[in-house]
Assembly symmetry: C2
Homo-oligomer: 398 residues x 2
C-alpha cells in the first residue's frame, strides 16, 4: 500500500471543486454513473440533505455529490427539502445528469433557513471549476470546512491478491460536535474498484466502526453526519480483504485527522484498551477514557493524573477487576507503566510520574490500558479540552 | 415547611465539626445510636471508605461520620482500608463508641496513599471541636470541600399530617467530576424523625433520583460518591409523605447548589423536559441537554443557539417527533418560545432571538422543552462550560 498525494483527486477520473465566500462554501465531487453507499447520523433530529441523499442512493447509482458548509439545513422542514433539492437540481442541470443522481450534504449552524441568494452563486462558481488536479482536490477539501483549521484528506494505492491495482481516496471535515457515532462530520471516499452496492455498504459499515465511530471531541452527536463511499466502477476484479485494508487505512487516517483538529485542541490522544473480554468492552473502555472531560483537561495540563483514567474505566459500564489493570502513558517509541497488574508503581517510584508527565507534554499522547480479562482490543482517538474549545463554541453563531 | 438556618446543626442533638489544614480537611457528624442508610457510586472502581461504610451500615446503626477531603483514598487497596479504619478508630476512641458505628467518606485525588501524618492531627483537632451551633455547622460544611468555592447546606422544619414537627438538615460537597448518578459528591443528611432502616433507604433512593442524580457538571462519575441519611430517632410518629417532601426539598436544594458551584461555572441552568411518554424519557432528554458541551458553551457565550438543544434531544436515545417539539428559554418570571410545536418562531420574528439572548445573559437560565408526546416531566440541573473549568482541571493535582 502506498500513499497518494492528490487527495480526493487521486483517482484520475474523479473531478472535484470547491469555492467559498466567507463562511459559506460549496464542494462538488463528480464521476458519472458511480455506485455509492452512505452511513448517516443516528440523531433522531437529522438534516434535510440526509433525507434527500438517502432517497437518491436507494438504487446505489450516483454521479455527483454537492456539499455546502455554513448552514446545516437542519430543522428547516419543507423549506430545507426544497432548498436541498434546488442545489441538487443546479448540479444536475450543470452536469447534464438526472437530479436523482446527485447526493447532497450540509454542515453548519442548525435551525436556520438556507441563504440561497448566497449559496447558489457559490455553488455555480464551484461547479464551473470542476477538475482533476492538486488544486481542485485542495479546493474541495477546504470548502467543506467549518471550525476546522486544516483540510483533511488521505489516499492510497493498493493491490488485490490477483495483482489488480486499485485506489481509495477520501476527504472529510469535522472538528466540533464530534461524538461516538460520528459528530458533525462529513466524509467522502472514492474508489476505482468496481464493487456491488451491498459489498460497498458492508465494507463502509465495517470501516466506520473502527475509525469515525472511535473519534470523540466533545461528545455531541450532530444532526448532519454523513459518510459516502463512491465507486467509479472502473476496475473490475474479484473482491478480497485488501480492499477493506485500504479503506480502513483511509478512514482511520481521516478519523485521526479529525481528532487532531478537534476544536481548540492542542494535543492528540490515542487510547488503546487491551485484554478485554469482548470487542464491545474494548470500545466502551477506550471511548470512556477518550471522552472524559477530566482526562481531556489533564491532557491539556500535561498532568499524568491516572486516577481520572481508572475512574473513566470504572464508569464505562464494563465489568472488570480493578486490581488486575495495567495503565501506561507514552509515545510511539516508549511508555511508562504507571499501574502494573493493579500495583501502582509510582508509590515506590515517584520518579515515574515525572516521566509520564514528560510524555503528557508531547503533541501526541498514547494511553494504553490492559484489563487482563481477555484478548480483545480497540483504539479510540481524541484530543485535549482547552480554553480555546470554550471560546470557539461560546462565540460561534447567532 | 420553613427553612432553618443552622445547616447540619439545625437538629439540636446533632454535633458537628470541621477543621482544615491546606487542602486536607476533616469533618465529623455525631449523634449516638442513629439509624443510617447510604447510596454510593456505581463506578466499578470505588474508594476504600465506601467498602468500610457499606459494611458498618449493614445493621443500620451508626453514631458518627468522619469525612476527609484532599485524598480520595481510592485505588489504594489494603493500605486504603487500613487507613480508612484508622480514621474510624480514632473517631471511635475519642467518642467512646464502637468502631463499627463510624461511617467514613473521602474526597480528593484518586490513586494516592492517604498522608496519615497530616490527616490524623487534623482529625484529632476536628474531633475536639464537636459542637452544635452555627460555627460548627459552618466548619463541617467547609472542611469537606475540594474545588468547591462555597459551602452547601440546607435545612427545613416540616409537619406530618398528625401535627408532628420534624426536621431534615443536610450539607454536601461537589463541584467537578459531577455526572449523572452523582459525581464526586458527598452528601450528609440528618433528620430527627424516627424511621426504620428500610423506610429511610426507600426515601433516600427516591429523593436522589430527583436531585443529585439530575445534576451534571462534567459527565465524569466519581469513585467516591456517597450520600448518607441519618436519623437521630428522636421523634416517633407515623410516617407520611411530608417526610419525603422535606427530604426532597433538602436534596434538591443541595443538588442545585452543586450545579451552581460547578467547576468554573458562571451560570446555572435548569432544564425541564415536559410532555414525555415516560419518566425515563423525561430524564434522558433533560440530562442530554444539560450535559451537552455545546449547550454548556452556548450558555457561557449567552448564545441562544437552540439548534444545539434540539440536537442534544435528538441523540438522547428518546423516540419523539421533532416536528411537534416546543423549546423555550427564560427565567423564573418570563420566557420566549423559540420553537412552537415544531415551528421556528424566529424565522418570522428574529427579534425573539434577541430576547432569548437577554435571558441567556442572566445568572440563572431556564430551558423548557415540550415533546408533546405524553404527560411525564423531569428537571435536570447544570452549569456553563467555561475556560475556568479547563484551568481548574488542567492545573489540579500532581
Amino acid at each position: 500500500m502506498k500513499e497518494l498525494n492528490n487527495g480526493i483527486c487521486s483517482i484520475e477520473s474523479v473531478q472535484a471543486s470547491g469555492y467559498r465566500e466567507g463562511k459559506y462554501g460549496v464542494s462538488i465531487i463528480y464521476h458519472e454513473n458511480s455506485t455509492c453507499v452512505g452511513v448517516y447520523t443516528t440523531n433522531k433530529v437529522y438534516a434535510a440533505p440526509i433525507d434527500i441523499t438517502r432517497k437518491h442512493l436507494e438504487n446505489g447509482k450516483i454521479s455527483a455529490i454537492i456539499v455546502n458548509s455554513g448552514n446545516a439545513n437542519c430543522y428547516t422542514k419543507e423549506d430545507g427539502i426544497v432548498k436541498g433539492l434546488e442545489l441538487a437540481q443546479l448540479t444536475a442541470d450543470t452536469l447534464s445528469i438526472p437530479v436523482e443522481d446527485v447526493a447532497v450534504a450540509s454542515t453548519g449552524v442548525i435551525g436556520r433557513q438556507m441563504p440561497m441568494d448566497i449559496l447558489k452563486p457559490v455553488a455555480e462558481k464551484s461547479l464551473s471549476m470542476l477538475d482533476n488536479n492538486r488544486q481542485s482536490a485542495d479546493d474541495a477539501a477546504n470548502a467543506i470546512l467549518t471550525t476546522d483549521t486544516v483540510k483533511k484528506e488521505c489516499a492510497v494505492e493498493h493491490t488485490l491478491n490477483d495483482g489488480t491495482v486499485f485506489r481509495v481516496a477520501g476527504m472529510c471535515k469535522g472538528s466540533g460536535m464530534i461524538a461516538p457515532n460520528m459528530g458533525t462530520m462529513l466524509g467522502f471516499i472514492t474508489t476505482d474498484l468496481k464493487l456491488p452496492q451491498d459489498k460497498l455498504q458492508e465494507a463502509l459499515n465495517k470501516s466506520i466502526r473502527k475509525s469515525f465511530n472511535m473519534v470523540v471531541v466533545d461528545g455531541d452527536e450532530s444532526t448532519n453526519d454523513t459518510v459516502l463511499l463512491m465507486s467509479t466502477n472502473e476496475i473490475e476484479a474479484e473482491y478480497d480483504a485488501n480492499f477493506q485494508e485500504a479503506l480502513d487505512y483511509v478512514t482511520t487516517s481521516l478519523a485521526k485527522q479529525i481528532a487532531r483538529d478537534g476544536e481548540g485542541a492542542d494535543k492528540f490522544m490515542e487510547v488503546t484498551a487491551e485484554g478485554c473480554r469482548t470487542q464491545n468492552d474494548a470500545i466502551l473502555v477506550s471511548k470512556s477514557i477518550v471522552s472524559s472531560s477530566l482526562v481531556k483537561t489533564a491532557l491539556a495540563g500535561a498532568d499524568p493524573n491516572w486516577g481520572r483514567i481508572i475512574s473513566a474505566m470504572g464508569y464505562s459500564g464494563v465489568d472488570f477487576n480493578p486490581d488486575k489493570v495495567s495503565i501506561s502513558i507514552g509515545n510511539r517509541d516508549a511508555e511508562v507503566k504507571i499501574v502494573d497488574n493493579g500495583n501502582v508503581t509510582t508509590y515506590e517510584h515517584p520518579e515515574l510520574l515525572e516521566k509520564a508527565e514528560k510524555f503528557m507534554k508531547e503533541k501526541t499522547v498514547l494511553i494504553n490500558v490492559d484489563l487482563h480479562e481477555g484478548t480483545q482490543a480497540a483504539t479510540a482517538y481524541g484530543c485535549d479540552l482547552t480554553c480555546e474549545y470554550v471560546h470557539i463554541n461560546a462565540d460561534y453563531t447567532t
